[in-house]
Amino acid sequence: MLRAHGLACDRGDRRLFSGVDLRVQPGEWLQVEGANGAGKTSLLRILAGLSPAAEGRIEWNESAVCDARDEYHARLLYLGHGPAIKDDLSGLENLQASAAIAGHPLEEGTALAALRRIGLRGREELPTRVLSQGQKRRVALARLLCSQARLWILDEPFVALDVAAVDQLCGILDEHLSRGGLLIFTSHQPVRLAGQGGCLRLGQ
């Protein structure tokens, strides 16, 4: 279970938000909403432990995250605005490398299957440089299919995807939730997910 109390974030002279409390339980999702610049990305990075909060604390399974960083990170998958893929490597190589870095090396077969499922059949071996915007995002999202992490934190995962891919991603997220996973994400488009969930509105 992920819990946060009284989170606040400062950028420049501005307090972006303060007093943000949240609680996500297994099988639940949380959508962070807000206008452009409300601080969604900032909040997600704080929750992932990438940047420190100005105030407040974050707990994972009842213990503070800052005390058990490595354990927390072993359970976490974060996808930010940057797709974390290398232009010069193929989709396959990218996927295998990022899985190995996350601590779960992948068989080539598994990786290929994931790429095909996400709609990159026939493009597994192309350098991602030549792929289209949406195809690059898909390579990044293929990580979700191979992930064993409990907690997914996704920053605008639906951006640049076509309609079919949006549906497919929803399916993947539902599956994750039904396995008892936790999910925090942002999106400007309306998203329909099965299972329990709530919205957190930042700003105003």
Binding site: H73, G82, P83, A84, K86, A100, I101
Partner: protein
């Protein structure tokens, strides 16, 4: 340990994918070395005298130029965030990246140096000392450079700022490295200089990945 290996493997793979990169680092080294005689003139007595200094300065610049590709790519596309989120200690992964950097940018210079030394008319044994000093010195360049590369990550004007930070830190390596060859040709023996280099290397292997990691965390915040 496993993740260390896979970072190393991925970086080496990237280097082979950019086929030309390793080769071009070498050519840069060659060209810089060849520029000096052009600027200074062809007298072989002077050239022989300045050869160790020139070779070492060129090695230093070649190492420095390839530094900005050490973390910058990973930073921009978000891979660095993923490394920081890996359960393996970040310092170990950074170590893997540094090792890959040395293998692709330092080691080739060590191998090429004797050929260039010949152009400057250096005697054979001096060439041996030159290689040895580079073998000890170039890993040091990668290690120290990694700290600088991490510190200048995402900072405006990073490229040039990087050299500003790193070059002064390179100076001891330069002095001992070029000094070894000069001491040898002067008949003083290269031992003292080389063992100093070795000591610096041992120190850096322990501390540099750690310092670079700290710097990377700052850049990520």
């Amino acid at each position: 340990m496993n993740a260390f290996g896979s970072v190393l493997r991925r970086d080496l793979l990237l280097a082979t994918r950019r086929k030309s990169e390793v080769l071009t680092a070498l050519f840069f080294f060659m060209i810089v070395v060849s520029l000096f005689p052009l600027g200074i003139g062809p007298e072989s007595a002077i050239l022989r005298r300045i050869a160790p200094g020139v070779l070492w300065v060129a090695a230093l610049l070649a190492a420095m130029l390839s530094l900005n590709r050490l973390f910058a790519g990973d930073y921009q596309d978000g891979t660095l965030e993923q490394l920081a989120l890996s359960p393996t200690p970040l310092a170990l992964l950074v170590g893997g990246k540094i090792l890959a950097h040395w293998l692709t940018s330092g080691l080739p210079l060590v191998v090429l140096a004797p050929v260039l030394g010949l152009q400057f008319d250096l005697p054979a044994e001096a060439l041996g000392v030159m290689m040895l000093s580079l073998l000890l010195g170039t890993p040091l360049l990668s290690l120290i450079g990694a700290i600088g590369a991490a510190l200048t990550l995402g900072v405006r004007g990073g490229g040039v700022l990087l050299s500003l930070l790193v070059l002064p830190l390179y100076i001891p390596t330069l002095i001992f490295g070029a000094g070894a060859v000069e001491a040898y040709t002067a008949g003083l023996g290269a031992g003292a200089n080389l063992s100093l280099l070795g000591a610096l290397l041992a120190l850096a292997v322990f501390f540099a990945p750690w310092a670079a990691t700290a710097a990377l965390r700052i850049a990520l915040e």
